[in-house]
C-alpha cells in the first residue's frame, strides 16, 4: 500500500547541479545557506554529530519515562462519584 509520504518522495523536485534541494522546492539557495548546510552535514557525520544523536535519544527516553510515571492513572479513584 502506498503511504502518503511516498507520494511526496516521488514528486520531489529533481536535483540540479550546484543546488541544494530544500523540502519546499527551493533549489537555488544562497551561497551562505549552502555553506551552512555543508557545515551541518560535516557536523552530523562527525563524532560530535553521533553523540548528539545518542544524547537526543537518551534524554528523550529519560523524559518520557518520567512522563509515564505522572501519566499513570490512579485506578482507585475511578469509582468515586463527582457529587459537588
Amino acid at each position: 500500500m502506498t503511504r502518503p509520504s511516498d507520494t511526496v518522495i516521488e514528486s520531489a523536485p529533481p536535483k540540479e547541479p550546484n543546488s541544494v534541494p530544500t523540502i519546499n522546492g527551493t533549489t537555488t539557495p544562497q551561497a551562505e545557506l549552502r555553506a551552512l548546510i555543508e557545515a551541518a552535514r560535516t557536523w552530523a557525520e562527525s563524532d560530535a554529530g553521533n553523540r548528539a544523536v545518542e544524547s537526543s535519544l537518551r534524554e528523550a527516553s529519560a523524559m518520557t519515562a518520567e512522563l509515564d510515571k505522572v501519566r499513570r492513572i490512579d485506578l482507585k479513584r475511578l469509582d468515586e462519584p463527582y457529587t459537588v
Binding site: M1, R3, P4, S5, D6, T7, V8, I9, E10, A12, K15, V20, P21, T22, I23, N24, G25, T26, P29, L33, L36, I37, E38, A39, A40, R41, W43, A44, E45, A48, G49, N50, A52, V53, E54, S55, S56, L57, R58, E59, A60, S61, A62, M63, T64, E66, L67, V70, R71, R72, I73, D74, R77, L78, D79, E80, P81, Y82, T83, V84
Partner: protein, 537 residues
C-alpha cells in the same frame, strides 16, 4: 398549584431594561425560586460580571418557551411528581442596545419603527432559559463569548445556535451551558451535556438531554444506588455515557500541570472539548465553614471549553527545556455548572483557582481551589494516536535540533517553540491554501492525500511558523505515523535533509531502545534528498 404556574394573564413577551436587579427578579418570577435563593446563587454574581462585560442593555422575555432538554427531563421525572411542575420554561434574550416593547412589536409586525432585523441580530448577546424549579433554575444558556481580539483568549469549541422568538431570526456563536438540577443531572452529567454540544456537531452524533446522559451512564455501570435522582457519576460512568453516543473515551491522569495544560491545549485547539475532574479544596483547610465542612468540598467535574495564552513567554519543560506553546496558558475557561459558562480557572503550579466561594463561621469568604485528577476526552473512534505519543515523538527531534543550534549551525535562530495540536486535513489544507508558500510547493501539499485527523506540531520562530511536522492521528502507535514535514523556507528546513542521512547512520540508533520516533522523522527528511532512505512499507 398556583405557586408553580405563571399568572394566567402572562403575555407572550415582555421587554425590560437590563440591570442585575431586573435579571434577579426575572429569574425568581419565571421559575418558582425564592428571591433569596436567586440572590445567593454564584450564577447571579457571575451573570452580573458577564453581562456588564458584554454591555447588556435590554432583556426580551419569551414566556411559555418549550425547551427540548427540560421537556425530556420533565417527561422522565418531574411529570411523575405529585407537585405539578410546569413543563414550559421562560427564555430571556439579551441585547446590547436599548429598545421598548412597542419597538419589538413593531418589528414583529414588520411595521416602520426604530428597530430592524439586522441591528437586532447584531446586538444579540444570547439567551438564558429559566426552568420552573425551586432552586436549580438556570437551564440551557447560550451567551456570546468575551471578545478574543482584546486578550489572548481562545474559545475553539463554539458553534452556532439559532433562536427564533416570535419569528425573529437570531444567532449566537457559543457553547451551551446548563446548571445541574440535582435530579436528572449532577455536575458530571451537566459537564457531559456541554461536551456533547460540541462533539455532536464536530463528530455528528446525537446530542442527548441530561436525563438521557444520566441513564446512559448508569446503564452499563450501575453503582448500586438509584439512577434518578442522580447523586453523581463516576469516571467509569462518564466514560460509558461517552460510548453511548458512539465516541471513544480517553481517560488520563491530570495531576501534573505540564501534562494537563499541554493535553488540554492539544485537544481543545482541535475543537474537542475536554472533561476535567477535580477535587475542590478550601484555600484555608483548617477553617470550618458555615456548613461545618473542613478542607475538601468533594469531587467536581467541569467541561473545559477554552484557554488564555496569557504568559508572555513559554516555560521550558524537563531537562531538555522543551518549549510548548501550551506552557503560555495562564487560565482555562470551563463551563462549571455551579458558576457559569466560560468560567475562569487560573493555573497555578499544582491546581486551579476558581470562582467558588465558601464562608467560614465568621462569614469571611474562603477561596476554593480545584486540584485536577483526571481528564476525559471524548474522541471520534478514528483518532487513535493520543496526544502523549506525539508529544513524546517530538522530544528527541527537538533535542537534536537544539544540539544543532547550540553547535552554532543555525546562526541567529532562537530555541524552537512548538505548537502541538490536533487538526484535520480540511483545516490544514485551508490554512496552507491561504498562506504564502511557493505556489508549486503549495500545490503539492494540497494535492497530497492525507488522513482526516492530523497531529500538527508547528515550530514557531518569532511568532511565525518555521516548520510543520504532521502526524497521522488515525494510525496505530507501532506504525509509522509521521506523515511529512512542511518547510516554510527558513534555513532549518533546508538543513535537515542534509544532516538526516548522517544522523540515521549514528551507532546510537542500534544501541538505544527508544529510537523509533526520531528515526521516523529523520528518515522522512533524509528521503527528500535520497529516496532510498524512504520509510519502507
Amino acid at each position: 398549584m398556583p405557586g408553580l404556574e405563571l399568572p394566567a394573564a402572562t403575555p407572550p413577551l415582555e421587554v425590560w431594561p437590563y440591570t442585575i436587579e431586573t435579571l434577579q427578579r426575572l429569574l425568581a418570577e419565571k421559575s418558582v425560586a425564592d428571591p433569596r435563593v436567586v440572590e445567593d446563587k454564584l450564577h447571579t454574581a457571575y451573570f452580573e460580571e458577564y453581562f456588564n462585560k458584554l454591555g447588556a442593555q435590554t432583556v426580551l422575555v419569551e414566556n411559555h418557551y418549550i425547551d427540548h432538554d427540560f421537556l425530556e427531563d420533565h417527561a422522565a421525572y418531574y411529570v411523575r411528581c405529585f407537585e405539578e411542575y410546569r413543563r414550559t420554561c421562560t427564555r430571556l434574550h439579551f441585547f446590547n442596545i436599548q429598545f421598548s416593547e412597542q419597538d419589538i412589536h413593531a418589528l414583529i409586525n414588520r411595521e416602520v419603527g426604530p428597530l430592524d432585523d439586522k441591528s437586532l441580530r447584531k446586538a444579540y448577546l444570547g439567551f438564558v432559559v429559566v426552568k420552573p424549579l425551586p432552586e436549580t433554575i438556570v437551564g440551557r444558556t447560550c451567551l456570546r463569548t468575551y471578545p478574543t481580539h482584546t486578550a489572548p483568549r481562545s474559545y475553539p469549541i463554539t458553534r452556532r445556535y439559532e433562536a427564533n422568538p416570535f419569528g425573529l431570526r437570531l444567532r449566537v456563536h457559543t457553547l451551551a451551558f446548563e446548571e445541574q438540577d440535582q435530579v436528572a443531572a449532577a455536575c458530571a452529567t451537566s459537564a457531559l451535556w456541554t461536551v456533547f454540544q460540541g462533539t455532536g456537531v464536530l463528530f455528528h452524533h446525537a446530542i442527548l438531554s441530561p436525563v438521557e446522559i444520566t441513564r446512559a451512564a448508569d446503564r452499563l455501570a450501575p453503582i448500586g444506588t438509584r439512577t434518578l435522582p442522580s447523586e453523581g457519576l463516576n469516571d467509569i460512568q462518564m466514560a460509558n455515557a461517552v460510548r453511548s453516543v458512539g465516541l471513544e473515551p480517553l481517560l488520563l491522569e491530570a495531576e501534573d500541570m505540564h501534562v494537563l495544560k499541554s493535553t488540554l491545549y492539544g485537544y481543545l485547539r482541535g475543537r474537542v472539548p475536554v472533561l476535567l475532574g477535580a477535587e475542590l479544596i478550601f484555600d484555608k483547610p483548617l477553617f470550618a465553614t458555615t456548613e461545618g465542612r473542613e478542607g475538601t468540598i468533594g469531587k467536581h467535574a467541569v467541561a473545559v471549553t477554552g484557554y488564555s495564552l496569557g504568559h508572555a513567554a513559554p516555560v521550558g519543560y524537563g531537562p531538555s527545556g522543551l518549549l510548548l506553546r501550551s506552557s503560555r496558558i495562564d487560565k482555562v475557561y470551563a463551563h462549571d455548572d455551579q458558576i457559569g459558562p466560560f468560567a475562569r480557572m487560573g493555573c497555578e503550579d499544582t491546581h486551579f483557582t476558581t470562582s467558588w466561594e465558601e464562608h467560614d463561621t465568621l462569614g469571611n469568604v474562603i477561596p476554593v481551589d480545584a486540584y485536577p485528577t483526571v481528564l476525559l476526552i471524548p474522541l471520534y473512534h478514528k483518532i487513535r494516536i493520543p496526544y502523549s505519543t506525539v508529544h513524546d515523538a517530538l522530544i528527541p527531534f527537538d533535542i537534536y535540533v537544539e544540539q544543532m543550534r547550540m553547535q552554532g549551525l543555525l546562526p541567529g535562530m532562537k530555541r524552537l517553540e512548538w505548537d502541538l495540536y490536533l487538526s484535520t486535513v480540511t483545516d490544514f489544507k485551508r490554512e496552507i491554501r491561504a498562506g504564502g508558500l511557493p505556489s508549486e510547493y503549495k500545490r503539492k501539499l494540497l494535492l497530497q492525500s492525507m488522513p482526516r485527523f492530523l497531529w500538527r506540531a508547528t515550530a514557531i520562530l518569532d511568532d511565525r511558523p518555521a516548520l510543520d511536522l504532521l502526524f497521522d492521528a488515525t494510525d496505530i502507535e507501532q506504525g509509522r505515523f509521521f506523515l511529512r514535514a512542511v518547510d516554510y523556507g527558513l534555513p532549518l528546513g533546508a538543513m535537515l535533509p542534509a544532516v538526516a542521512p548522517a544522523a540515521l547512520a549514528a551507532p546510537a540508533f542500534h544501541r538505544e531502545k527508544d529510537w523509533r520516533y526520531l528515526d521516523q522523522i529523520l528518515r522522512w527528511f533524509a528521503a527528500q534528498t535520497d529516496p532510498s532512505l524512504s520509510p519502507g512499507p
